[in-house]
């Protein structure tokens, strides 16, 4: 498998914000404190996991299928609650977050999934606008905001296309544009390249890096070895629900580990 160089991403009006020095002096934006998640079936998806993520970090959460990567994402969006321990987002303990305040948390986050989660009967523009219409229907300049999000992902010329008329990579870009319209501080991606060919997958990872450079914290769960190895960003490796490795500029596998 090889990755070819994808076309350059559009240059945005906003400047880059990524500053590691600055983020080190700020409190963590995400905290996992001895988190254990046991599902009703009795399966422990996460066991005693502790880590922090600083603002504007880019973190790969890696591991085999069923290792617990998606559970990390689900705990962060409070789709699941920790059985033990604490998950904090921007200092807010998600276990104590009232249900009625959940939408406010979700609006701070951009979330994308492997299966894109687009509405097939809506156009690209409508799919992106949907995120605003259902949270803030009176927001002014809706069209401009949607246009800007689509410009960032390079799909400004596909406004009227339907998802089925797009490639997988383009569909994932629409999902990213939809996640961007709220200008999230945290961007969560659960296997965003899982359904894509290597080139399209690499394009998506580049896009997420650009979003990170614009100031968002990115947490990406993946088992795409090539992109992790190419990016050399922070890697959190999970095995059987346990954090087994946390490296600042890591690779998918530890040196000497066998490829399964």
């Amino acid at each position: 498998m090889s990755i070819t160089t994808s076309p350059p991403l559009p240059i945005t009006k906003a400047g880059t914000v990524g500053s590691t020095e600055l983020s080190r002096s700020e409190p963590p934006i995400i905290v996992f404190e001895k988190v254990t998640k046991v599902y009703a079936s009795g399966q422990a998806a996460i066991q005693d996991a502790s880590f922090t993520v600083r603002p504007r970090d880019f973190v790969f959460v890696v591991g085999a299928s069923g290792a617990g990567k998606s559970t990390v994402i689900r705990l962060l969006i409070r789709e699941e609650r920790a059985t033990h321990g604490h998950v904090l987002v921007e200092g807010q303990d998600l276990a104590r977050l009232k249900h009625r305040h959940l939408p406010r948390l979700r609006r701070k986050m951009g979330i994308v999934f492997q299966d894109f989660k687009l509405l097939p009967n809506l156009t690209v523009e409508q799919n992106v606008a949907f995120a605003i219409q259902v949270t803030d229907p009176g927001r002014p300049h809706l069209k401009e905001k949607v246009g800007e999000a689509l410009y960032i992902v390079g799909l400004e010329d596909k406004l009227n296309s339907f998802p089925t008329q797009l490639s997988g990579g383009e569909q994932q870009r629409v999902a990213i544009a939809r996640a961007l319209v709220h200008r999230p501080r945290i961007f969560l991606a659960d296997e965003p390249t899982g359904n894509l060919d290597p080139d399209a997958g690499w394009g998506i990872v580049q896009l997420l890096q650009q979003i990170n450079h614009r100031g968002a914290t990115v947490v990406m769960a993946t088992h795409n070895r090539e992109v992790v190895d190419l990016c050399r960003r922070r890697v959190l490796a999970i095995e059987d629900g346990r954090i087994v490795r946390d490296e600042a500029e890591g690779a998918y596998l530890r040196d000497g580990d066998a490829i399964l």
């Binding site: 249900h99 939408p103 995120a131 009176g138 996640a179």
Partner: protein
């Protein structure tokens, strides 16, 4: 959140849902129309029956006290005035022998027989009476007991027209009619509620991806819920309108085209239509609320 764009969006989604799931919506309208029709018919029948029973009750609430022939006018006036001031008595009217004969002639068809008796010299056999109109049918028995002790009453076997059997029977009929009507309305209401709940649950299942996305991007539960509730209200009100139309057409048909059958007045008909619309809307909103709850919890 600005309410006007929110309302616009919710309305648009609700109508889109109905159009998109028109098969389910049509089935819901049909079944809810049938149930509301059943409820409407039950209300109309109970109302008509209630009217008949009330007429019977008002007639039974009059105690006719027959006077002996020799009683003086002063004694009659004394009895009338004494009892008329009791709280249970609404009013009292005196009916002399001639009026009694006239009444028997017109309502019972006994005019010819009375004429024959008068011509034969036997005179008018019917006694004069005081009619006590009571406020409550239950007071008839008490007044009857009280008035029977008076010496100026007819000495025949029936000094009053009190019939001990009639009143409990009427009360029983009224109770059965009201209970039966209430049960029918409750059962069809419950059926309609279940149908709307299932229909909205199906619609929510069809739209589960949309709901999932709404929740992921930060829509509140109420924002997710409103289109479904509006959809339920639209379906419920539409069903109520169809059921009302059928009821009115049927009422006019059986009533001869100019008035409604069973002596139902237009005012009552309008109130019934209004009640069905309110009931349809309420059933729709409650059914939708319950129907979409599971999707929100997921």
């Amino acid at each position: 959140m600005n309410p006007i764009p929110a309302l616009k969006f919710v309305s648009r989604v609700a109508f889109q849902n109905i159009v998109r799931n028109r098969g389910i919506a049509l089935a819901s309208v049909l079944t809810i129309t049938l149930t509301l029709l059943g409820a409407g018919m039950a209300v109309v029948v109970v109302h008509a029956l209630d009217g008949v029973l009330q007429t019977e009750e008002s007639q039974a609430s009059v105690l006719k006290v027959f006077m002996a022939d020799h009683v003086s006018f002063a004694s009659e006036m004394n009895l009338e005035q004494t009892l008329e001031h009791q709280p249970s008595v609404a009013r009292a009217t005196f009916e002399n022998k001639d009026q009694a004969a006239q009444q028997a002639g017109s309502s019972l068809g006994l005019g010819q027989a009375i004429n024959l008796l008068e011509k034969s010299g036997a005179g008018n056999p019917l006694p004069a009476s005081i009619n006590f109109h009571l406020r409550n049918i239950k007071a008839v028995s008490e007044l009857n007991g009280e008035v029977r002790t008076s010496a100026i009453l007819d000495t025949g076997p029936h000094p009053t027209d009190y019939n001990a059997d009639v009143i409990p029977r009427l009360e029983r009929y009224i109770f059965i009619a009201q209970l039966g009507g209430g049960l029918v309305v409750a059962v069809v209401g419950a059926v309609a509620l279940v149908i709307i709940t299932i229909s909205v649950r199906t619609a929510a299942y069809v739209r589960r991806r949309e709901i999932e996305i709404m929740k992921l991007v930060g829509a509140t539960d109420w924002f997710v819920r409103w289109p479904f509730i509006l959809e339920g209200v639209i379906v419920g009100v539409l069903s109520a309108l169809v059921a009302s139309l059928i009821l009115v057409i049927a009422g006019l048909g059986f009533g001869g085209g100019h008035s409604l059958a069973l002596g139902i007045g237009w005012r009552f008909a309008a109130l019934t239509v209004l009640a069905l619309i309110v009931a349809g809307g309420a059933l729709g909103s409650v059914g939708s609320f319950v129907g979409v709850r599971r999707s929100l919890a997921a």
